[in-house]
């Protein structure tokens, strides 16, 4: 099992990035949708919003009451009447129902009906008034969003209608309560029963004031009858104001929380998806990026002239393709370097044989001419030699051996003192590096010769700095313009514009020295020595990685 999964992994990771990203996106999408769908379907019935009359009464009387959905309905006492008391909106279609509920509330409180006001708040601004009431015992909760305001009004109106037609203002016909329950039951039981009279016109055009008293009484009676036979009616959340005898108002407002309970549930679903998807997405993204990171690291190691290992072709198809291209490029560069070296070798060879012939031919010439020509030949030879070492420096890398750098610098100081006036060297003992004795001797000899040529004298120093050994050739000469500290390493660069053989060598000396230093994993650079702002000399620094046992 473990084996098969181990086999499957590289296959999966070797899919093209396109399909990996596509797959990842699809998985995340499916998970997000799936989790939320399950969460919503699995959700328990949200407790009904709104409150019973008894709860409203309790809140008004005692100050607070606990609602079914767990929230608290709290009452406050204010001296100022709420807006809906000051400006009762009697034109509104809900006013009749409001009046009815207010009457019911008043009767439950045991106070006169004209001291109690009710206001239903719309659930949100743009939605029309929606009927929320339902019987708590009903499982569906009666969340009747599809009902129009007209339906609601029809309920109130149908209860009031017969009374308005048949009875005097004060009269509450004995037959009326009997007729009301079936009507109400019909309306509440669902959409099945058509409202008896055409509700819209009748409700909308009748002046609300006209049958106020009758409606009130009849509705009240119906409500009371309801209560006896059924479980308590749950009213949509409303605000209520009760004018106390001392003129202040006791007010309840629907509890408002920032997030409604049903919203809470949905948000929890989102949170759950995030929690589940996040680690998965993180894991997969990391797996996707790992081969790319590995690729870029391998690519950074690609050297043009060294034998760096080829970039590993692994991971997604795109990365493998890029690795192949890079490897091919490195190959081409390597071949080019090789052919350049071969070309230089061939040119050098073909130049040196004629030079050798010339050198033999001039033997018979008069001594003065012969010596001059011999000098020219020697110069050409030196030039060719430098060019060859410059192009073939990289082959050094394979022939590095541990050596005692202290002994090397000491012996060089000894040998070079014959041709160049030098101060005694400062040498740290037993510094060891991996290098090539001959190459190192050439570098240092070149630097010392330069120092002697331009400054007349110099001093060699060998020191260690952490993992590096540093050979410094310090001279008290004129230094270099800062712009030239790097350019002097370019092949055939000369400080003097003339290619004068008396002051300079082939023009390749420093280029060759740097190429040789780099082939041994080292660096070579020049820095001016300053005393305050004044240049007091030049220092050539050759650093090499130390060999530490």
């Amino acid at each position: 099992m473990a084996k098969s999964s181990a086999n499957a992994q590289p296959q999966l990771i070797s899919l093209p990035i396109f399909w990996q990203v596509m797959g990842l996106s699809l998985i995340v999408l499916a998970l997000a949708v799936g989790i939320n769908t399950w969460w919503v379907i699995d959700a328990p019935q949200p407790p009904p919003l709104g409150y019973r009359m008894t709860e409203a009464v309790d809140a008004l009387k005692t100050g607070q009451a606990k609602l079914q959905d767990g929230r608290w309905l709290r009452a406050e006492t204010t001296t100022e009447a709420p807006d809906y008391v000051k400006n009762p909106d009697r034109r509104s279609r809900q006013s009749a129902f409001q009046t009815l509920v207010a009457a019911r509330l008043a009767s439950d409180l045991g106070v006169p009906a004209d001291t109690v006001w009710i206001n239903f708040r719309p659930l949100h601004r743009n939605a029309p008034w929606r009927r929320h009431e339902h019987f708590a015992g009903e499982p569906s909760g009666g969340f009747l969003g599809d009902r129009t305001p007209g339906d609601h009004y029809a309920f109130a109106g149908s209860g009031a209608g017969p009374g308005a037609l048949g009875g005097p203002a004060s009269g509450a016909g004995p037959g009326q309560p009997g007729s009301a329950p079936p009507d109400a039951g019909q309306s509440d039981s669902g959409d099945g029963g058509p409202p008896a009279p055409p509700p819209h016109d009748a409700g909308a055009e009748r002046p609300p004031e006209s049958g106020f008293g009758r409606e009130h009484d009849q509705a009240l009676r119906f409500m009371q009858a309801e209560e006896r036979g059924r479980t308590e009616i749950l009213y949509p959340a409303f605000s209520a104001a009760w004018k106390l005898p001392n003129g202040s108002y006791r007010v309840i407002n629907p509890p408002r929380t920032w997030i409604e309970p049903w919203q809470e549930r949905l948000l929890m679903g989102f949170g759950l998806s995030v929690l589940l998807i996040l680690p998965l997405a993180w894991l997969l993204s990391q797996r996707l990026s790992k081969p790319i990171v590995a690729f870029s690291e391998a690519a950074a190691r690609v050297g043009f002239e060294d034998h760096s290992p080829p970039v590993l072709a692994a991971g997604p198809r795109e990365v493998r393709a890029a690795a192949d291209v890079l490897n091919a490029m490195q190959d081409r560069i390597k071949k080019q370097v090789e052919s350049r070296t071969a070309l230089m070798g061939a040119i050098a060879h073909d130049l040196k044989t004629p030079l050798a012939r010339m050198r033999l031919r001039i033997e018979d010439l008069p001594e003065k001419t012969r010596d001059k020509l011999a000098e020219d030949i020697a110069h050409m030879d030196a030039l060719i030699r430098s060019a060859m070492s410059f192009t073939s420096a990289h082959t050094l890398r394979d022939n590095l051996r541990p050596l005692d750098l202290s002994a090397l610098v000491e012996s060089l100081a000894d040998d070079l003192a014959v041709t160049c006036k030098m101060d005694p060297p400062l040498i740290e003992p037993r510094v060891q590096v991996a290098g090539d004795t001959i190459a190192l001797k050439r570098i240092v000899t070149n630097l010392v010769e330069n120092a002697c040529r331009y400054a007349g004298t110099c001093r060699m120093e060998l020191s260690t700095h952490g993992k590096e050994a540093q050979i410094s050739i310090v001279d008290p000469g004129p230094g270099l313009p800062p712009d030239n500290l790097e350019t002097v390493f370019e092949p055939f660069y000369r400080l003097e514009s003339s290619r004068n053989r008396d002051t300079g060598g082939s023009g390749l000396g420093l280029s060759v020295a740097r190429a040789l230093a780099e082939a041994q994993g080292g660096t070579l650079r020049l820095v001016n020595r300053y005393d305050a702002d004044k240049i007091i000399g030049l220092e050539a620094r050759l650093t090499l990685p130390r060999l530490v046992k």
Partner: protein
């Protein structure tokens, strides 16, 4: 092909064979060497060379390194394996690495083109002289190896580099190298400062005694080693002695 025959025969004019693919250079060297008292044969390549060598009286081969067909190195190796005549290698590639490889494969000396004709002459004479004095007490030319071993150390006579028993390379200055050679050629003999100076610079030099002491102390320091007692010992009242080789 018998080298000893070539050497033991009273050859007043040594026979030199020049192997080079460049006709003109061949002729020029040939002309120059003939003027200087040698009998010169030429060959354009390995096969021609074998034919001339068949004569059996060639004292020295001047061999070009880079030739079409069989190249100089492989010819040199072949000659060395068959105890052929000494070889001076000519190369258009002045690289030190080639020089060393050429010598390790058995060339007796090496010159890079373009060379000074009189220097070639001098080297030919030197190699021939070494050949003659073969078997006698002599310098490192005794035998073809450019490496000298002692007490686990190794001296590279070309690079002038010491290699410690643990493989670490220790560079020697020219003076130190010459000094070490003087000792290595005379192990187990107490040498006075004057004797050492004579061996180094020839008789009648006015070199300073003190300088020798400095050189020897430096050389001792480079030869110092945790396991060995002093390789160069001070003999009180006389001078110095190199530890006898086993």
């Amino acid at each position: 092909m018998s080298l000893s025959a070539a050497l033991t025969s009273p050859a007043t004019t040594p026979r030199i064979l020049i192997v080079d693919d460049d006709l003109e250079l061949r002729d020029l060297i040939s002309g120059f060497l003939s003027q200087n008292g040698f009998e010169v044969h030429t060959a354009a390549g390995g096969r021609e060379m074998d034919k001339v060598l068949g004569r059996g009286d060639i004292s020295l081969v001047v061999l070009d390194y880079m030739m079409p067909g069989e190249d100089g190195l492989s010819i040199c190796k072949r000659l060395n394996e068959n105890s052929g005549p000494p070889v001076i290698m000519l190369s258009a590639r002045g690289e030190e690495i080639d020089r060393i490889v050429g010598l390790e494969l058995g060339a007796d000396d090496y010159m890079s083109k373009p060379f000074h004709p009189r220097e070639l002459l001098a080297r030919i004479r030197a190699v021939l002289r070494r050949q003659e004095s073969r078997g006698r007490d002599g310098g490192w030319g005794n035998g073809k190896t450019p490496l000298t071993h002692f007490f686990g150390w190794q001296l590279d006579n070309i690079k002038r580099t010491l290699t410690r028993p643990d493989g670490m390379q220790v560079a020697l200055s020219n003076a130190e190298f010459e000094l070490l050679r003087v000792f290595l050629d005379r192990p187990g003999r107490a040498l006075s400062r004057d004797q050492i100076l004579d061996f180094l610079h020839g008789p009648n030099t006015d070199s300073f005694d003190r300088a020798i002491d400095v050189q020897i102390s430096r050389l001792r320091r480079k030869l110092s080693d945790d396991h060995n007692e002093d390789i160069i010992r001070t003999i009180r009242g006389i001078g110095y002695m190199f530890k006898p080789l086993k």
